[in-house]
Amino acid sequence: GTGGAAKPVAAADKSATDKTVSWANWAAYIDEDDDGNYPTLQAFTAETGIEVNYEVAVDDNNTFYGKVKDQLALGQDIGYDTACLTDWMIARWIRFGYAQELDHANLPNLANLESQLQNPDFDPGRKFSVPWQGGFAGICWNTEAIPGGLESVEDLWSADLKGRVGVLSEMRDTMGLLMLQNGVDIAGTWGDDEFGTAIDQLREQVENGQVRNIKGNSYLEDLKSEDTLAAICWSGDITVLNAEAGDKWQFAIPSAGGTLWNDNFLVPIGSPRKTNAEKLINFYYEPEIAAEVAAWVNYITPVVGAKEAAAAIDPELAENQLIFPDEDTLSQAHVFRSLTGAEEQKYQADFQSILLGS
Amino acid sequence: MAVREFAERGADLELRGIQKRFPGFTAIEELDLTIPAGSFFALLGPSGCGKTTTLRLVAGLEEPTQGRILIGGADVTDTKAHERPVNTVFQSYALFPHMTILENVAFGLKRRRIGDPLAKAREALALVELDHLAQRKPQQLSGGQQQRVALARAIVNRPALLLLDEPLGALDLKLRRQMQLELKTIQEDVGLTFLHVTHDQEEAMTMADTVAVMNKGRIEQLGAPEALYELPETTFVANFLGQSNLFTGEVVASTDQAITVDAGGFRVTVPSARAQVHRGTITVGVRPEKVALHTEAPAETSDRNTLGSGRVIDVSFSGVSTQYLVDFGRAGTVLVFAQNIGHGPVASLGSEVWVSWAVAHGFGLSDVAGAGAAAGVRFDADDSTSAIAVQRRDDLVAELEEG
């Protein structure tokens, strides 16, 4: 398997006849009622007649990519018509030609896209990708076990949490928080030294048994089973977790700052239902719909007008800093700078070596 | 126990009131038996009569339901198999397949930490002429060779008591006879007590000092081979130990000296002393080799029984002797063995003959032979040993002829 030979060609669109769409997404990332139904998806189906197969198939950007890359390389249908992945991974798909070019005619609601997000360096003009949600990576803890709460990444290393701490397998979040703790500006120019210092710190915590596990979105399962009592977490997840398993967790952006990221829709190259996917994306750019999702998932919505719509549901919601962060909150969060191919390979390997232990 | 020592000499074995029940089956009803030290004792009986079970009880591989077992005077009933001064040559050899022949033979010596086990094992192998195969595995040996290894493996331990469970069963007749001689010589030389189980009557008789005939979990008769053969007491013994001509009928005359039976119109006299029962319906008999064949009516004398005339319905030559089957109508058939002293048979198929035998050779049994038993070859047909039915043959032949 070498990969990256000739770029694959997009599949022919059968949306006109095939009224279904399949969506791969992360856990705790959409509105869901007690019976396991997704209200906004039901609304979408009601409105368009398109059945949605929503699958919680992404646990971690890398493992998802690993699962589908061979088919992408062959231009085959990976079984999903759209997937929500993080900026840096989206960049790779676009580079390799694994994403279909979107037809903006099918995305009139894209006008509602937050202006700062309209021209990212990996996809100027949003020809291939559209933001789904953004969020912070920070720290969270079990309030029953740790009533005093946590403030900084440093607090995760306290002796009484030995063996009960989880960190994310998402390198940019885990390493980002550690580097921020070290005073590094992760959005700025840093290099091997800064990364190396942080990686050594992480390695030490893993090797001395402080860190119990390094996981993707399944870190939530460890919190639930209480194998971990504190962790590096994604902001909105904790709200969902509390709703699902009893109010006993709390999230905070660490004192030295957290990371800020965005996950984006894209349409895989082999999908024969691009138009359906576009309709789905367009649907979630209705401010009311966006507000309804936000009310559940508590992530930052990229849709202009959602705040107003949220206020209409519940004024408190519009003030939720996890959904509609103000300048002050945003100033605590930092975007991990983009990496060159070589950097990606090297830093990822270093980080993975910790996941694999030694 | 004495098992760390080689036995000085054979020990005697005593079984007292032994009973053995398996779930749903009583293999041994009631067994009392004393085998004197140094003797060669044979337990003879048909398949399934309890011979192996008896041996296993002695070896300690099975526990009696009732009764005691004594070896050399010591009660070993509660002693475990590996602590009894007994060795067994198993019916199926049970050679350890993962060990060489030599290791097999040395096994017992090693367990008892006897010095230089390999050298001793090698000598025992030489005794059975297999030392050149010492390094082979059992499955590389022929049946007869395996047998001899099993023998060496037991004898090398010089047990006080050697149990042999049909040790010659797998050998062909020739080798079997030869091994019998050898076994007997070994026993006499080393003076061990041998308890030998077999269903081959000739084997039991040629080898043993004492033979016990076992039937359905009981010992029917016990004694020296000649005594047993010459004077069987039951139908079973008369038929199992060699062949017999049996006649069943009313006692029609009886004196101190002799009793006379009416057998299908012929009168057969046996000495009173050789008859177990003296009145009523009884079965009397004579061995086929004691019967003389006459082509002319012999003179009647009081010391011989004479039957005649009858017709020869089968002649079969077996080398040493010729066997004649003579039909006497109601009295049944009589089997005659005539040793081939001269050339060829003296009477031919279908000819008219008379038979006679000395009254002194007859015997009277304690039970009455089953009605179904035909003369000549006569023994209870059981499920697994019943004969091909001659009577139905003709039907098939006819049918096949048409088909």
């Binding site: 398997g1 007690d34 396991g36 061979d70 999903y80 | 526990e63």
Partner: protein, 281 residues
């Protein structure tokens, strides 16, 4: 394992062998241990759980009654795929493997040891290697991953197990039986179908069962070669990261109970038949 087993239970006076109670007691404990996670899975198939099935939330039959209603029937679809894959690869592997086994035992040819090695290697190769190697190969040749590639992969690792299993049976088949068949006027084809095949059948059935079990339970090789097709183990693996729904427990428990029932019924009826025959005689 301490006492030489006799042929029948004998009343033991004064000496109770260790083996008399120690071993049965051990066996009971061992089985309890073996069955713990299965019991857990079974119990939690009745959990009135929400999305994930970790904490006990009350008893319900719902999950059994509505197995296929969750996540658009994803569990059932995965299960169905597993069954199809298991059956098809079993049929292919059993056919090919049986043919090889017969050839290996009954014929002499030059490449014998090379072939034996080729058959042994897949069993000595870790699943990751098999899975990854095959996946890379499929990619290089441009074969799309779907049900077919899973079946191709499963068949590949099942063949060796079939050969080993059936070979033992062929080897224990007395060639005199086939000769007796020839002697009794059977043509070669009749001999194969009326004598050889029925006599090999128990071995073939065992091989097929093994092959199905290996396929049904395989995750690693499947994971590398399945593309977007879901199988039951793959479904479990993927949902492991976000909480496995109780419906998965339902399916697993049902398969377990079904398998046990099947074997028990077969055994009991065989025992009954043997008893009847024994009486008849």
């Amino acid at each position: 394992m301490t006492d030489a087993p006799g042929r029948a239970p004998a009343p033991r006076r004064g000496r109770i062998g260790l083996g008399d109670w120690l071993l049965p007691a051990y066996a009971v404990i061992a089985f309890v241990f073996l069955l713990i996670p299965i019991g857990y899975t079974f119990v939690f198939s009745f959990n009135d759980s929400l999305k994930s099935n970790i904490a006990w939330r009350g008893f319900t039959f719902d999950k059994w009654l509505n197995v296929c209603n969750v996540e658009g029937g994803a569990v059932c679809e995965a299960f169905g795929n597993s069954i199809v894959i298991g059956v098809v690869s079993t049929v292919i592997a059993t056919t090919l493997g049986t043919m090889i086994a017969i050839a290996l035992v009954r014929y002499r040819f030059k490449a014998r040891s090379a072939i034996s090695l080729l058959l042994f290697l897949p069993m000595a190769t870790p699943e990751v290697v098999l899975g990854a190697g095959l996946a890379a190969q499929f990619l290089a040749v441009g074969v799309p991953k779907d049900m077919t590639t899973i079946i191709l992969a499963h068949t590949m690792f099942c063949i060796s197990f079939v050969v080993v299993t059936v070979k033992a049976r062929v080897a224990s088949l007395d060639p005199a039986l086939e000769e007796a068949g020839r002697d009794l006027y059977g043509s070669p084809a009749q001999i194969f179908w009326r004598i050889t095949f029925p006599l090999l059948l128990p071995g073939i059935a065992a091989a097929a069962l093994l092959s199905f079990a290996l396929s049904f339970d395989d995750f690693i090789i499947t994971n590398f070669n399945s593309g977007s097709v879901s199988t039951f183990p793959k479904y479990v693996y993927i949902s492991a990261s976000r909480g496995i729904p109780a419906e998965a427990n339902v399916i697993a428990s049902a398969v377990f109970l079904f398998a046990i029932a099947l074997v028990v019924i077969a055994q009991v009826s065989r025992a009954a038949r043997a008893k009847r025959l024994a009486k008849l005689g």
